[in-house]
């Protein structure tokens, strides 16, 4: 666990770096989490069956934001903390960085409580949350204390384990009504943009690049992998959306809380009648990098701001996450936390262009003086 100490400043030793291609897995696995299990409902509420367009628009917007992030980081000389410090100075910059830390923590927290809720509703209604949360957070602590490369490995594993679940999309399509996706656009632009905002809520996760950028070896080469990761996520979400549109009727989908899990219910094999149990169990691997990277990102910021050992921060954060995760319960509260983190996520994404402009201005001013 002493690996964490050596990453002082931004001269990160080469043995802690990851190759550019892994950025694909880092970006993609962070974007896909609990959101994909039930985001269709929110899209349909806004734009009906035209919401697939919104998913494409959202994907396009994310490509632009990613491009901005690379612009920001390439001549920012490090991560978000460095950029904040250089623009706003040590104190305001540090404060802003800590806001990012809070946001990252909230993301990790949202994933934990939402997944626990899914388990409680679908599999074990009488789940002893304190035991499960304890084991889960212990596992996360174990992985996070392994350092960034371990987390990257988890991301890779999660993408690979998630792949076979994609094949299951075949079953709902087979039982579905393909006429539902006839491209007749019956909603106006405001509805579609409203649904675009909703899809961005489930797309968030790429902003972690701001903190793990210094860990990428030859970062300029990782650009295409990052874009490829976002493209893959967009396609995945598009497929999920189209499949649920084919499988459910519009008013029915508005009432289904977890569209994707409910669609798994139709999958029946001779040896397993309830596939959703297997699906939910496998989904733990898909959400694990979400929590790990979330916690790692969150704890790295205090380390960089206050120059303290990350290990202590991780322990504190684990304990701080554990108690609310056990205590918070019930659909309304969890829905609220999800909406809150989604809202903050959109603000963070909107903050990036602002930051880029500020950075360009401050660079110019500095050159002149």
């Amino acid at each position: 666990m002493n690996k964490l100490n050596n990453t002082q400043g931004l001269n990160i030793p080469e043995n802690y770096l990851v190759t550019p291609a892994y950025v694909f897995f880092l970006i993609h696995s962070m974007q896909v989490g609990v959101g994909i299990l039930g985001f269709e409902k929110y899209l349909v509420e806004k734009a009906g069956f035209d919401a697939w367009i919104s998913v494409l628009i959202a994907g396009g917007i994310l490509h632009i934001i990613l491009w901005m992030m690379y612009r920001l980081l390439q001549n920012g000389g490090g991560d978000i903390v460095q950029i904040h410090n250089s623009i706003f100075g040590k104190y305001i910059g540090g404060l802003l960085s800590l806001l990012f830390c809070a946001y990252y923590t909230l993301l990790a927290f949202t994933v934990i409580i939402t997944f626990i809720e899914v388990i409680k509703v679908w599999v074990f209604p009488g789940l002893q949350v304190w035991v499960f949360a304890f084991v889960l957070i212990w596992l996360v602590y174990y992985l996070v204390s392994g350092g960034f490369r371990v987390i990257t490995g988890i991301c890779l594993i999660s993408v690979i384990i998630g792949l076979p679940i994609l094949l299951l999309k075949f079953f709902p399509v087979e039982a579905g009504h393909t006429m539902n996706i006839y491209p007749m656009i019956s909603h106006d632009l405001t509805d579609i943009l409203g649904a675009t905002k909703q899809s961005i809520l489930s797309f968030i996760g790429l902003e972690f690049l701001l903190i793990y950028y210094p860990f990428i070896k030859q970062p300029e080469k990782s650009k295409k992998w990052a874009h490829f990761g976002i493209f893959y996520t967009t396609m995945l979400y598009l497929i999920s959306v189209l499949v649920t549109f084919v499988y459910y009727s519009e008013e029915q989908l508005k009432q289904v809380v977890w569209g994707t899990i409910s669609a798994w219910k139709i999958v029946e094999f001779p040896f397993i009648e309830r596939f959703e149990f297997v699906g939910i169990a496998m989904w733990l691997y898909v959400i694990l990098p979400n929590i790990c990277l979330g916690l790692w990102g969150a704890t790295r910021i205090p380390k960089r701001v206050f120059k303290i050992k990350q290990k202590y921060v991780v322990i504190t954060f684990c304990i701080a996450l554990y108690f609310p995760a056990v205590l918070l319960d019930g659909r309304p509260v969890i829905d609220m936390v999800n909406n809150l983190s989604g809202q903050l996520g959109t603000y963070v994404l909107m903050y990036i262009p602002v930051l880029l402009v500020l950075k360009m201005i401050s660079d110019k001013v500095r050159k002149r003086s």
């Binding site: 509703v121 035991v131 019956s186 459910y248 009727s249 519009e250 008013e251 219910k265 009648e273």
Partner: protein, 360 residues
């Protein structure tokens, strides 16, 4: 360090397993079929059949235990049955749910809600309407070697591969919630020693409003979906011909303005004639042509009857409104429902008889 890690893994293994008490099959009452009837004092009468997997030597007969209770709601039925059972009730393998016609005519809305909410239930479960009492149907035990639920499940499943349109809990819910679409369910009827699929029950939201007998099922399925099996007989020149469907395709199309649209349903059917009882002529292209015309005439009459029934009752089991909604920007449900009775629906049937069997 190493010891710490090993300890962590071991502890996780210990904590993650054995959290739940394990239950074996024999110790559970696995409900596979439930039937609901109208009970006394506005209550619901629920009947379940629980297969008994005992230690008895007699492995041939599938023994079942029937329990009947009166309850206030469908969920309450589960509670009441629990009171009568010596083993914990588990409903995860529920395969068939039956409602008596009497109950369905009042309203199935609340029941639908329960079915769509419970995560334990399979979406491939069959629902059915029973002419008469569902309790009697469940308790009659039709075959010696399989349980009632297996039998009924097989019966409905087999029929959906032939004359009956595909049906399941999911299909029912899809149509129930959709705009411009109404659900339908199979009707079951108990005869002296067997049970048969006697027709289709049509719903307006959760209420049973119309039914058609089994002779019209083929026509309904033809209007509803593409399929490759099923048979239809027809009187022809003093005898009967039996048509074996080998591929039926249906295509919807809407034209004209939304105030006064025209709906076209195009059906093209390929068939073989395998039985010509009492027809005293040799198979020839000429005869095939005559038979085709006769079938087209028959289907035109039947489809017109069905569609006028749907219009009269204000139901849309074909999902014409749902289809229009995906094709037209200015679809408005209340307007559509207002126009529905006057909607012009043209059914164009094309029958092609390709073979006459192996004997001329």
């Amino acid at each position: 360090m190493k010891i710490k890690k090993t300890f962590l893994i071991l502890l996780s293994v210990l904590l993650l397993t054995g959290c739940l008490p394990s239950k074996s099959v024999e110790e559970n009452a696995i409900v596979q079929i439930v039937g609901y009837d109208v009970g006394e004092d506005e209550r619901i009468q629920g009947t379940v059949s629980i297969p008994q997997y005992g230690k008895s030597e007699d492995k041939q007969a599938a023994s079942e235990l029937y329990l009947t209770v009166d309850a206030d709601s469908t969920k309450d039925v589960e509670v009441e049955i629990q009171k009568q059972s010596s083993k914990p009730i588990s409903i995860g393998k529920l395969a068939v749910t039956l409602y008596s016609k009497e109950l369905a005519e009042t309203d199935l809305g609340d029941i639908v809600d329960v079915l769509s909410r419970d995560p334990r239930l399979s979406r491939n479960m069959f629902l059915g309407i029973v002419e008469g009492s569902s309790r009697e149907l469940i308790e009659s035990g039709f075959t010696q070697d399989e349980t009632t639920s297996k039998h009924l499940q097989g019966l409905i499943e087999n029929n959906t591969r032939h004359n009956f349109p595909s049906t399941s809990l999911h299909d029912f819910l899809y149509a129930y919630y959709a705009e411009g679409m109404d659900p339908f369910l199979p009707m079951l009827k108990k005869r002296e020693s067997f049970v048969e699929l006697s027709g289709v029950a049509f719903f307006k939201k959760g209420m049973l409003v119309a039914e058609v007998p089994d002779t019209k099922i083929f026509t309904f399925k033809m209007l509803k979906e593409n399929f490759t099996r099923g048979m239809q007989d027809l009187p022809f020149e003093g005898g009967t011909i039996m048509m074996d469907n080998i591929g039926s395709k249906v295509d919807y199309n809407i034209s004209g303005p939304m105030d006064n649209p025209t709906f076209d349903i195009k059906i093209s059917l390929k068939a073989e004639v395998n039985e010509m009882a009492g027809v005293d002529r040799n198979a020839s292209p000429q005869l095939a042509k005559e038979m085709e015309d006769k079938f087209v005439e028959y289907f035109n009459k039947e489809t017109a009857e069905l569609i006028s029934l749907f219009k009269e009752k204000g139901i849309d089991p074909l999902g014409i409104g749902n289809f229009t909604k995906t094709r037209r920007k200015d679809f408005d449900l209340t307007k559509w429902q207002g126009h529905y009775a006057d909607l012009e629906v043209n059914v164009i049937v094309d029958v092609q008889i390709t073979e006459y069997g192996i004997f001329s």
